[in-house]
Symmetry: C2
Subunit: 125 residues, 2 copies
């Protein structure tokens, strides 16, 4: 899986509790690598790698200030991810609405009998 589109790298970056915690921290403002590493019982290189994943996914950007590399949150990919999720959530909800409408419709015309369908060939959903 090398053809990494934006959504893939975004979700992949979000699929780790450490990285989500880092983003959570950064949502309150910029922080240095050491500051970000503090809450975790994990080596600095490990944090460095997580930051690289977040950076590659463009969820964070980094500056230079003397020997510090302050990180800050970039929300654009979060927006794209949120939009994707919401899109399908909405479709899913729309299905319920349609089912609801259909059930009402069926209920309206009383006593309709459905012929038993042929045993083979799966019903279409």
């Amino acid at each position: 899986m090398l053809a990494q589109d934006r959504l893939t790298s975004t979700f992949q970056a979000l699929a780790d509790p450490t990285r989500r915690a880092i983003l959570s921290r950064l949502s309150q403002g910029e922080a240095s690598v050491t500051e970000l590493a503090a809450p975790f019982s994990m080596s600095m290189p490990a944090i460095s790698k997580h930051l690289k994943v977040l950076e590659r996914a463009k969820l964070i950007s980094r500056g230079k200030e003397a020997q510090w590399r302050p990180c800050k949150l970039e929300a654009a990919p979060l927006e794209a991810a949120s939009n994707w999720v919401e899109q399908y959530r909405a479709m899913w909800e729309a299905r319920f609405d349609r089912l609801d409408a259909y059930l009402k419709e069926v209920q309206a015309k009383e006593g309709n009998t459905t012929k038993p369908r042929k045993a083979n060939g799966r019903k279409k959903y």
Copy 2:
């Protein structure tokens, strides 16, 4: 990384284009495994594995109908994921609002001079 919380398994499941395409298809209604596999140039076992990942993440559920295992979308985890993302996106936007307010405030009191801070010790963000 074995302690898989809900968000982790949700995002991890979403971090694959094939699985997202499957969810996309399922947002339009139930489908059998063979139906879901059709658009992909991939073996059935590969699809089967993807479905297992989606099922473990509770993004889909599966029924039994003769030899078919119809899959359907379950939106609850999508909701949780969306909420998480939106939460931090919102915080991030709130920061801009606060910065904006701060800049207006600073702009209000003219000609304020800032003393140069001590060279060492990184500024707090």
